[in-house]
């Protein structure tokens, strides 16, 4: 028995036999040939076949996520480019064999793109390599797509997966995916999450450590692999898989239902989103909207901030996919523990108390203005709201709203349309915001309580510091009292209030949230149906909150809620 740890990119468990997928790197030899006509015919056939394959993929993936369709279209356009063909034919006419001519031409293009001083254009070299492989495979007749012809269910172990691999993969036969490279935003990770396949990345020698047919356990929730599992582990995971299966079956019956307590109180279940690919998950799990669209990922892993156009496309794509459901976009929440290379927030003694989120954005007006323009433009055809994070002072709301007005004015001058009545909200994450919530509620259209940060700032505890993390508890009566105050102040002004944060999924706290009259809970897509099921089985209890805040400690609060939840 041996455990290996990697990155938990897609949750869930799998037990099964390993399929080591190592796409063979073929050796291309340079040969002199006489019959150039035959070589040219081979090329022609391979090009036609490649385009046919891509067109079919395009159809098969018509309902797919993200940029898949764009990737395939770009590949088709590249193969159809007469220059590519001419360049290959020229080499054949010099007497070289077709596969060498293709390989050489592809390498020339890869060099051109690799030498461009722009990240986007550099990345296109991967696409060129991918189509090169496809054409050569079609020439040498290596058309067997091992991933499309799997006989039994397997745990796929590989160095990394290319877009072509994943497109042709027989997805029903994959119990789990383990790769050597890649992180949470890699192609593999996104695909696995979308399909609900457990996946672990970043175990760097995994392909050498396991053999085909070997039985292993993948734990995508913890991000680990168990080699040579012993009987009790197999039984434990079998139980977990079974439990999850039954749970999913039960939850599925709640698709299309309203979230309504037994006494008829409607509480909307929205989703938190960390990347545009999560949209599919929101739809699959019947999320009623997006309560927190994090925008940090748009700014990460690059050299320059995303342009207005880029952001506009992403926001409006997400909005359109949600078909009229609400999408609440949070403006850039940088700083604290979220570092972005080109955003030069100096190292601070207390980053969580430092130059972060709205504070930074109000100093870097241009950055925020670009984002606001993009959000506004996307609001013209979608149900989008704006939310500012980390507000502590009244002036910040006024400043942020001024900037929004400035963006609106500019767009009007440029004759660009947007929703003039776009709703503006703030996140309540600090004790200052809690105690100012009555005044803030007069200035904004909605509140969203970020309970992770609210707990951190209320308990004055860094949850990453293991020496004090035991003090980090949303059950601390101070946190519950804060939330009560915010809800009362919001409803006093007639505005909606939601909770986005881990406590929104905490079953023990759900009776409290609905009894308080929280308008919506925003959770990870996977939890939507489970929470709906739970809420549909309970009733509101008007006195619960007043009893709860009499608790002296977090432990007492937990005990009290456990007793109450026994219906």
């Amino acid at each position: 028995m041996k455990e290996l740890f990697g990155i938990n990119v897609s949750a869930g468990y799998g037990i099964g036999s390993v399929y080591c997928y190592n796409p063979a790197e073929y050796i291309i030899t340079e040969r002199k040939i006489v019959d150039t006509t035959n070589e040219k015919a081979k090329l022609e056939k391979a090009l036609i076949l490649s385009i046919e394959q891509l067109r079919k993929l395009h159809l098969d993936n018509a309902h797919d996520i993200g940029d898949t369709a764009d990737i395939i279209e770009a590949h088709i356009t590249m193969i159809e480019d007469p220059d590519l063909k001419d360049s290959i034919v020229e080499k054949i006419e010099k007497g070289y064999n077709v596969e060498w001519a293709v390989d050489k031409t592809i390498k020339e293009y890869v060099d051109i793109f690799n030498n461009m001083n722009n990240e986007y254009f550099k990345e296109r070299s991967l696409d060129i390599e991918d189509i090169g492989k496809r054409i050569i495979n079609n020439i040498i007749g290596k058309t067997d797509k091992p991933l499309s012809k799997l006989k039994e269910k397997v745990i796929l172990v590989t160095k990394e997966l290319t877009p072509s691999d994943t497109l042709s993969m027989d997805k029903d036969k994959i119990l789990g995916i383990v790769t050597e490279t890649g992180g949470k935003t890699s192609h593999t990770a996104i695909l696995a999450r979308t399909l609900g396949i457990p996946a672990v990345t970043g175990i760097d020698t995994i392909t050498e450590l396991v053999n085909n047919q070997e039985n292993i356990i993948i734990d995508g929730t913890e991000g680990k692999i168990i080699l040579e599992p012993v009987e009790f582990q197999i039984n434990t995971y079998k139980q977990r898989i079974e439990k999850r299966r039954i749970q999913l079956e039960e939850e599925k019956s709640f698709i299309g239902c309203k979230t309504k307590t037994r006494d008829g109180y409607n509480c909307k279940i929205y989703c938190n989103m960390g990347s545009p690919e999560d949209v599919q998950q929101v739809l699959n799990n019947d999320g009623e909207g997006i309560g927190l669209f994090r925008t940090e990922f748009l700014y990460m892993n690059r050299q320059t901030p995303p342009t207005e156009e880029e952001q506009y496309n992403i926001y409006s794509n997400v909005g359109k996919k949600l078909k009229g459901k609400e999408v609440i976009i949070r403006t850039l929440d940088v700083g604290g523990d979220k570092k972005i290379e080109y955003i030069n927030i100096e190292d601070e003694l207390n980053p969580f108390l430092g130059n972060r989120a709205i504070r930074y954005c109000l100093q870097e007006e241009k950055l925020l203005l670009t984002q606001l323009r993009a959000i506004l433009r996307a609001s013209k055809e979608c149900n989008i709201k704006i939310m500012f994070p980390m507000i502590t002072a009244f002036e910040e709301i006024i400043e942020a709203k001024k900037l929004l007005e400035k963006a609106k004015k500019k767009l009007i001058e440029e004759e660009k349309s947007f929703n003039k009545n776009i709703k503006v909200g703030i996140m309540i994450e600090t004790p200052a915001a809690v105690f100012n919530s009555a005044e803030f509620a007069k200035e904004v259209d909605f509140f969203s309580i970020g309970t992770n940060d609210l707990t951190q700032y209320t308990c004055a505890v860094d949850r990453m510091n293991t020496k004090v993390s035991y003090l980090y508890s949303p059950y601390n009566p101070a946190v519950i009292k804060s939330i009560k105050m915010v809800v009362e102040n919001a409803h006093g002004e007639g505005i909606e209030v939601s909770i986005c944060g881990e406590t929104a999924s905490e079953e023990l706290l759900l009776p409290l949230w609905i009894s308080l009259g929280i308008d919506e809970l925003s959770v990870i897509p996977r939890n939507v149906l489970g929470i709906r099921k739970h809420i549909n089985s309970i009733s509101r209890n008007e006195t619960l909150i007043n009893e709860a805040i009499k608790c002296k400690s977090g432990d007492e609060m937990i005990k009290f809620l456990k007793n109450k939840s026994v219906i």
């Binding site: 590249m78 220059d83 722009n118 296109r124």
Partner: protein
């Protein structure tokens, strides 16, 4: 020959370049895209892409042929609308 400043946020990357060459292919005239004295055939994807045209770059269009007027106005429209379809 006409000059244009590319205002599209992404410059001439894959999607706009695809739209550009597909439009070019509708005309029989010879279409050249020029950036920094580098010339690309407006009907060839990899050439246009490898010019690496970014936002705010200055490009020239040189069009010769029977339908050069129509081609110029169609491509001009595409560029001015920032490749919005």
């Amino acid at each position: 020959m006409k000059s244009f400043i590319i205002r599209a946020e992404t410059g001439l990357h894959a999607r706009p370049a695809t739209l550009f060459i597909n439009k070019s292919k509708e005309f029989s005239s010879e279409i050249k895209v020029i950036k920094n004295k580098k010339e690309a055939d407006g009907k060839k994807f990899l050439q246009v892409l490898s010019l690496g045209v970014l936002k705010d770059d200055l490009i020239y269009l040189k069009i010769n042929g029977n339908d050069e007027k129509e081609a110029m106005s169609a491509l001009e429209k595409l560029i001015i609308n920032n490749f919005a379809v």
